[in-house]
Every structure is written in C-alpha cells, then in structure tokens.
Amino acid sequence: MADLNVITHDILIVGAGLAGTWAAMSAGENGVKDIGVLSKVHPLRSHSSAAQGGIAAALNNVRPVEGTGPRGPLEQIPPGDDPIDSPDLHMFDTIKGSDWLGDQGAIEIMVNEAPEIVYQYERMGCVFSRTPDGRIAQRRFGGHSVPRANYAADYTGHVLLHTIHEQAVRNGVKFYAEWYCLDLLVEDNVCRGVVALDITTGELYLIRAKAVFFGTGGYGRAWKITSNATANTGDGVAIAYNAGVPLMDMEFVQFHPTGVYGKGILMSEACRGEGGYLRNVNGDRFMENYAPDKMELAPRDLVSRSEQTEIEQGRGVGADGEGIYLDMTHLGAEKIMERLPQVRELALNFAGVDIIDAPAPIQPTAHYSMGGIPVNANGQVISDAEGTPVVGFYAAGECACISVHGANRLGTNSLLGASVFGRRSGKAMAAFVLSGAALQPVDEGAVKKNRQCISTLMDDSSINGKKESPAAIAEELKTAMTRYAGVFRDEERLTLACEKVQELTDRFKNARIMDKSRRFNTDLLGAIETEHLLTFSKVIVNSGLARTESRGAHYRTDYPKRDDEDWLKHTMAHKDSNGEPELSYKDVDIDWDRYPPQERKY
C-alpha cells in the first residue's frame, strides 16, 4: 500500500503515566534499546500527576504518639526503636481492603517491592515532604492500619510523574507526544502491534513491535460526577476487549467519598488522613454509626456508602441535599497551608470555600477502576481463567487487573501498583525481546479499517435516520451510569443501565462529528472515546448484574451480603461473536493458611 506509514520498535508502550514510564525505563535498563512511548496527551499531562495523597510503603519513618488514639499526632520513630509496620501488615490491610478479591501472590510482590521503589523515587529526585530528621514523611490513609502513605504535601503524583519522566528522557526513551492509539492487532493470541494516529497531523500509522505494553489508565469518565481527567476514557481497556482480550472485574469501580460537590474534582483523602471530619446537615459526625472504630478513615467504599445513606435519608447538605460537609476548620491554617495547600486552592476555586474557615460541600465521586485487562504479576496479559498469555502483550497500572486491589483499592496503593508492576512488565518485556522474539506479520488492512471508521464519523451522507451528537450520547451515558451503576445498585437499576447502554450503542451508529479536518481533530477523538465508554460500560453493567452479592465497591441493595460460597471469584468478560459480553469466572489466588477470608469490619 502506497500510503501506509509503518514504524517499528522492539517495544511499544502506550501510555506515559507512571505505569508506562516505569515500563519504558526498566525495559531500557534491562538491555532493550529500541523503545517507543506513545501518549495521547503530553506525557507530563498524564493523569498520574493528579494523585494527591501519597504512595504506600512500610518505611517505618513515623508512628502515632503513644496514648493519643487513632486520630492523634504522629512523631518520627527514633533510631533503634521497634518498627510498627511491615510488608506483612501492608499485605493484610490490602487483602482486607480488597474484600478478599485481591490475588494474594501479586499483593505480596507489591508490598515487598514497595519500600525499595519509594526509595528509588527519592533517589531519582522526588521532592518528598520530610520528618524533622530528614526521612520521607508519612501520613495516615483509609484502610491502612498504620501511617504508611509517603507523601509530597498533596501533590505526590505530580512529583512522582515529573521525576520519572525526567529520568526516562535522560535515559533516551523516545516519546511520541499527542499520538492516539486506535487499535490493537492480535491474531492467534499473538500481539503484533497497534494502529495509531498522530493527532497533530491527522496521519495514521501502523506501529509494529515485538512487545506491546498498555498503561492507558482508568475508566472513570463513564460517570457524571468523577474525579478523573478527561483523558481517562478507558481507551486501552476497550481497545483490548475489541481485539479479543477479556476484561476482568469491571463491575468494581471505586467511588471516592470526597469529590467537590457538583463537580467531582477530588479533595484528597489526606484531608481526612490529617484529621478532617465528615458531617451531615445536623453537624453530626455520622461515621460514628457506620465505622465507630475507624470513623472517617474507614475504607472508601464504606465511607461513600455511609455518605450516600445520609443523603438518601434526607440528612444531606447543599442546594439539592446531595452533599456532605468535609470539615477541616479545627486543623488550623498552619497545618492546612503546609500539608494541604493544593486542596485549599481547589476548594477556593471549585467550591468557593476557604477550608481554613468553613466546611466544604462534597459528595461521592467515581474515582478508581479496579477492573481492567487481566494480567499476571509480570504484566503479561492473559486470555482465560487458566492464565494462558497473549504472547507479546503486557499491561500495568489502572487499565490492568492483576488483581492487587480486588473489590476495593486502598488509597495510595495505586501509585504503588502502577510503579511496581510497570517496572516488572518492563523487565519481563526485555527478557522476552532479548530471548529472540521477532516482529510478527500483521494485517495491513487494519489501517484501512481504522481510516474507514474515521471517514464514517465525518460522513453525514451515510446516516440512516436522525443524526446523533457523540457528546450528547456521552452525557446520557454518564447520567445513566451515575443513576443506575453508582454507589448503590440493584437488579432493577442495573437492568435499566443495560438497556440504556444498548440504546445508546445503537444510536451511536448515527453519530457524526462536526469537525471534518485532519489536523488536531479533538472532535474526532471525543467521538472515538465515547465509543470506548459505551464498549466497556456494557461490560460493567452486565458483570454487575450477574454478580448477585455485595463485595467492596460493588454494592447490591438486593444482595447486601458478601457471598463467598458463590462469588469468591473474578469475573472475566469476553466479547462474543454478536458483540455481547460473555461471562466466565476465574479463581482468586488465596493463601488459605495465612489470609483466609474473614468478615470485613472497621
């Protein structure tokens, strides 16, 4: 084909957040020279930069002051004193947080590698906050039984991402900034490359690689109230699914308890970690009734449900009673300015409230995607319950499901997971490439097929019926997902969600864009992203409808109990020949001697 642009790399990485950048760094350090990293936004704009609160690791730098209780002040641990934390404790907290759906082997790897990777960030230049004697500062976070969130004030993700990006550039990694991955080429369970669009020029490329890695981030944009960046449209998840790869545990989506009221923009959990209170319209700290022990620092699924219950029982705040107050006025200006400067600014800008003087109205917000592309602990994508790998395809970070987060992720474990498993994937890919992997033949027709899809989106004459706007379809989807597949779910709501997603998917066939130009066409990208939202939302609602139990973030009011008998298993969804999700199940990796399932109480 004359007009076929072809690029080849030993390793092609899609996504330049923490997962993708670590994968690139470590593949390079393990001997592969020819690595390309593609990102639809400039690498430094990746959503990892939005993470505020911290990255978990049992460093044993601080401890609670004795006798001051679970919300009391912290002090540095003097040299020689007994440690209070350990990878084992971190592991247990993570398993409990996951409501026993986390795979324990993978969790063990993550917590064991945690201290070393945090130290490595520090030695690469991360500007962490510090204890008086110069160690990395730590704070409390929900679901963690000791303070182990290592932080840089409240812009931890920002400093981690900038640091690792700078080091990757230093190491000579090649970045393709503002390139959009459209399609993944898998045939006979072997990955061959991708089709990508250079956004600036509008040119399509076939990129062939011996190994392809996805670190494309989460899928929180399918909800109306969300903390996620506009880029978090679950592209990688949808693209992989369309290429025949299954998706795992998609029904598990975390709703964070403190999004700015009406906007969803995140007010970090560090607000509560530093001592903030949640209050209802009567001024009561209602968590007393739901988690008397951990109070505001119970895990996110529980706190969000408690808030939603208060709201639904008429004790909410705000114009329509859909909010709750996050009260930090007792913390004092000095502490807020030192530890939560970004949050203060956010509340000023987006809620019009100075948290030093007044409580901020907040509400649960779609936040983290526990489900995704199933992988093993080396980042290798698997295609079935037996763990058969898709040769040459790897993934890590929020788009992947290992699963270390199970049914509910603990805060600060995702920056950690993206880093640890991004790095492991890079190493595994390097071993794969250096063991003699070759470029595989590809179907060049794939580029033509993608070009055709783009042309159709621009071609008003091909409409059969009423023309639809992709943006309007996306809005309707988000409203439906918020209403029917949110904090509380049941059969009726999820059935309505299935119907709505189907209706919108049908209507999308007539979706056409207004911008017909080639150059930097964000109208086109928006339409493609909307299609992705529809694709994976269908999997979410079907998986959620099938799972007749409540576990972690998936809460069914018609099945309010966890059901280990029937549901201690991962959902796997394949796209069948009619384009419908076909569900099967995979065992959870549990160490029955050490961490058998228990009741989850806080």
Partner: protein
C-alpha cells in the same frame, strides 16, 4: 434564587485558525449561558459540545495540575480550568480567548510547544544524584525542602513563558519555566552537578537576560516565583566556587 445565582449570558470571542484552510487567525463569537461556577474550560467544553465541535483546545485534569489548558484571556495568560468565567467578563459580559503567545499555532487555541520543551531540556531537568547512594532515602531536612520554594510543583503550563517580555524579544532565552527548574535542581542538596547547571544558565541566553519585569509571577497559576529563582541563580553564579565547597561538605552527611 438570588441575583448571584442566576445564569447570565456571555459573549465569548474565540480566536480560530486552522493553517490548512485559513489565511490568518480570526475571532468567532459564541453566546454562552453562564451558570454559577462555570469555568472558562466549562465554557469551551459547552461551545464544543453544543455549538461548534471544531473549536479546538487542550485540557485534561480540570483542576490545575496537568498544565494542559493555559490560554490567553483578555490579554492575560491563565489556566482555563481554574478560572471562573464570571471573573474575566467585561462589563458587557464579553471575553476574548486566544492561544498563548510566542508559539506557532497548530489549531485554534492549541500551540506548538516544541521550543518551550527544548528550553526545558536544555537545563537538564532531571536530578543527577550523587555517587554515595545508599539503600534508603537521602536525608533532606524540612528546611531544605522549604528552601526550594515549591518550585517542584510547577506544572509546565507555559503561562509564564508566554507572558515573558524577554521571550517576546528573543526566542533563544531559556525562559522562566526552565530557569525555575534549574533553580530546583541547583538548590536540591542531592544534586551532584550544580556547577554544570550554573554554567548552563549563565550564558547569554540565561539568567542575565531576565529583565525582572515580574510578568511570570503575575501569570503563574500556582503562585510560584520564577523571578526570585532567577535572582537566586544569578547570585549563585557569582559566588559559585564558594558554594560548591559548601555543598561538597553537605553531601558527606546526606
């Protein structure tokens, strides 16, 4: 509903330009209903979704941390995502949005930032750690972190760069964003190449070009202080040798 809460109508003028088809940039006007709390970015998104899908701009995080969305509003550079639209409307409820200055336009509000990033790379933005790297963290005191003056929180949005009168006259100038980065690394007690860095920024396109006009400070949406950072680098360049000795001693106790 109080008057404050009412939706008002705004006339939003946006500079449009697609070099493939337009001879030169022009302004197009859109009527936008402005509910309480609408940001400039919300208004752009409204226009794109409801009126003209071809209006093109960058954005991602929506909360002033990714650095994508800086634009020129009524002649001042700012982030679209954290600026309430009402605060920039004229008495006649109008506002004019253009791309950041001094950079080639790719389309509408999207500029080609190649030069911006090249300058950033020129200062070697990465930390160059010392050799004596132990298994744990380097010890850095809270005071030493404080001395960095939050330079590590720069989001590389380019608002300062596009406001700088020196950049306007000389595109070779390293620019406030990159010099702030250089300051961060030089002041970081862990860095082992401050001399090389000071050398890099002390040339004709470096710190001595800054005319201390303070535009960068006004423009910075994160309230950072590039001017002061540049000032510090200047002083350090002047007393470099003594400074290096001091650091050598300090690194023995990291």
């Amino acid at each position: 509903m109080t008057a404050q809460e009412q939706t008002i109508q705004a006339r939003v003028h946006i500079q449009r330009y697609n070099p493939d088809v337009d001879r030169k940039p022009y302004l197009q006007t859109f009527d936008v209903p402005v509910p309480q709390g609408m940001t400039i970015l919300d208004a752009l998104a409204y226009i794109k979704a409801e009126i003209d899908g071809s209006v093109t701009f960058r954005r991602s995080c929506r909360h002033a941390i990714c650095g994508s969305c800086a634009v020129n509003v009524n002649g001042k550079n700012m982030l679209a995502c954290n600026t309430p639209l009402r605060t920039v409307l004229t008495k006649k409820n109008e506002v004019t949005i253009r791309p950041l200055s001094f950079q080639p336009i790719i389309k509408d509000l999207v500029v080609d930032r190649s030069a911006f990033w090249e300058q950033y790379l020129k200062v070697k933005p990465w930390l160059i750690p010392p050799e004596n790297s132990g298994p744990k963290e380097y010890r850095v005191t809270p005071e030493e972190v404080k001395a960095l003056n939050r330079a590590e929180t720069c989001i590389m949005c380019g608002a300062c760069y596009a406001s700088c009168q020196v950049v306007a006259m000389n595109r070779q100038y390293i620019g406030p964003h990159a010099l702030l980065k250089a300051f961060l690394r030089v002041l970081d007690p862990r860095d082992s190449a401050p001399a090389e860095r000071l050398e890099l920024v002390s040339g004709t396109d470096g710190v001595f070009r800054c005319h201390t006009i303070f535009n960068c400070i006004d423009a910075c949406p994160k309230n950072l202080n590039p001017t002061e950072a540049i000032e510090t680098l200047r002083k350090l360049t002047q007393r470099r040798l003594a400074f290096e000795k001091e650091r050598e001693e300090r690194q023995k106790t990291l």
